[in-house]
């Protein structure tokens, strides 16, 4: 019994890694969400906007300038 308890105390416990296959689904799901959000905030210039017009472009306009994305 003594030797099973002694081993983990001597070695510094290594930081456990999360298996990559557990990360995959979250990365894909979140990547899609992020692409849509970044498109609407930073690149949506009216000409390619999904709801036609410039409402989305104007709504987040100041954030685009102050967060350093290209604008007018």
């Amino acid at each position: 019994m003594a030797h099973t308890a002694a081993t983990p105390e001597i070695a510094t416990p290594a930081t456990p890694a999360i298996p990559i296959r557990d990360l995959g689904p979250w990365a894909v799901f979140f990547g899609l969400f992020a692409a849509v959000v970044v498109f609407f905030v930073s690149a949506n210039q009216g000409g390619v906007s999904v709801p036609s017009g410039t409402a989305v472009h104007e709504w987040v306009h100041d954030a685009r300038h102050l967060l350093g994305y290209p604008c007018h």
Binding site: M1, T4, A5, P8, T12, P13, A14, T15, P16, A17, I18, I20, D22, L23, W26, A27, F30, F33, A34, V37, V38, F40, V41, S42, A43, Q45, G53, T54, A55, E58, W59, V60, H61, D62, A63, R64, H65, L66, L67, G68, Y69, P70, C71, H72
Partner: protein
């Protein structure tokens, strides 16, 4: 610690970071945005040709300025905060336990710091934020694609640099491997920045307003990343503590 655990905390921390960035942007940055818009309107009023050219765009303003600088700005900073918080969380979740002897907390802090440099700081040095009235409407397409190309190269180069450092660490040790990674990133990002076209559309825009606007923009970005980094480091610290407590209880139970 699971991917879901860390991601959820990253999204919440990103939300907080977006709120903090909004406060800084609104208090520090908006006065310069307003100055720039006033200059833009004065310039187009003085030049009827420019006014006529702008007319189709200017006339259909759907969102008023007071809404743009409050709710609109808040929407934008929170949206980007949540996205960046989520990315830092997922990249931290992938990096924890895979960067030599770094702890979960140290790894998360490093990921946030690299994220700030690669996604925000380095692109800013080549393509700094510009207030309204500085960018030309004719070049918005190429400016947008050049900017995102640099962001893409910078972020991919940073990820590759970390992989390079990991690969070299066994042979040369963590210190020298990290230095090689940093050097490789600097070379790739530097070459990309040198090759991409330079934009100079400042014209007669007042230099002091431009400088103040750029400082306020950098302050906004720094706030965003600092809150994401600090918040996620604290969250991961709590998760790691809880995990250690469970492991210690298990070890104790096994030893009895």
């Amino acid at each position: 610690m699971t991917a879901r655990n860390v991601l959820v905390r990253g999204l919440l921390v990103g939300l907080l970071a977006g709120l903090a960035a909004f406060l800084v942007a609104h208090e520090v940055g908006e006065p310069h945005v307003e100055t720039a818009i006033a200059l833009e309107e004065a310039a187009s009023a003085a030049d009827p040709a420019a006014e006529a050219a702008d007319e189709p765009e200017e006339e259909v303003t759907e969102v008023s300025r007071p809404v743009q600088r409050t709710w609109g700005l808040l929407t934008g900073t929170v949206a980007i905060g949540v996205v960046l918080g989520g990315f830092v969380a997922l990249l931290s979740a992938a990096a924890i336990g895979r960067l030599g002897r770094l702890t979960a907390v140290q790894t998360t802090g490093l990921v946030a710091a690299i994220g700030f440099v690669a996604y925000s700081l380095v692109p800013f040095l080549k393509y700094p934020a510009t207030p309204p009235a500085v960018g030309s409407g004719d070049t918005i397409g190429s400016r947008t694609s050049d900017y995102f190309l640099l962001v893409l190269v910078s972020v991919v180069a940073a990820l590759a640099a970390v992989q390079l450092a990991r690969a070299l660490a066994d042979r040369f040790g963590g210190l020298r491997a990290s230095m090689a990674g940093v050097a490789a990133y600097v070379v790739v990002a530097g070459v990309a920045a040198a090759l991409l076209p330079t934009v100079n559309e400042v014209g007669a825009f007042p230099a002091d307003t431009l400088w103040s606007f750029r400082v306020s923009s950098l302050l906004t970005l720094t706030t965003l990343w600092a809150v994401i980094g600090a918040g996620l480091v604290l969250s991961v610290d709590r998760l790691a503590r809880a995990e250690r407590a469970v492991a210690e209880r298990r070890a104790l139970a096994a030893s009895l």
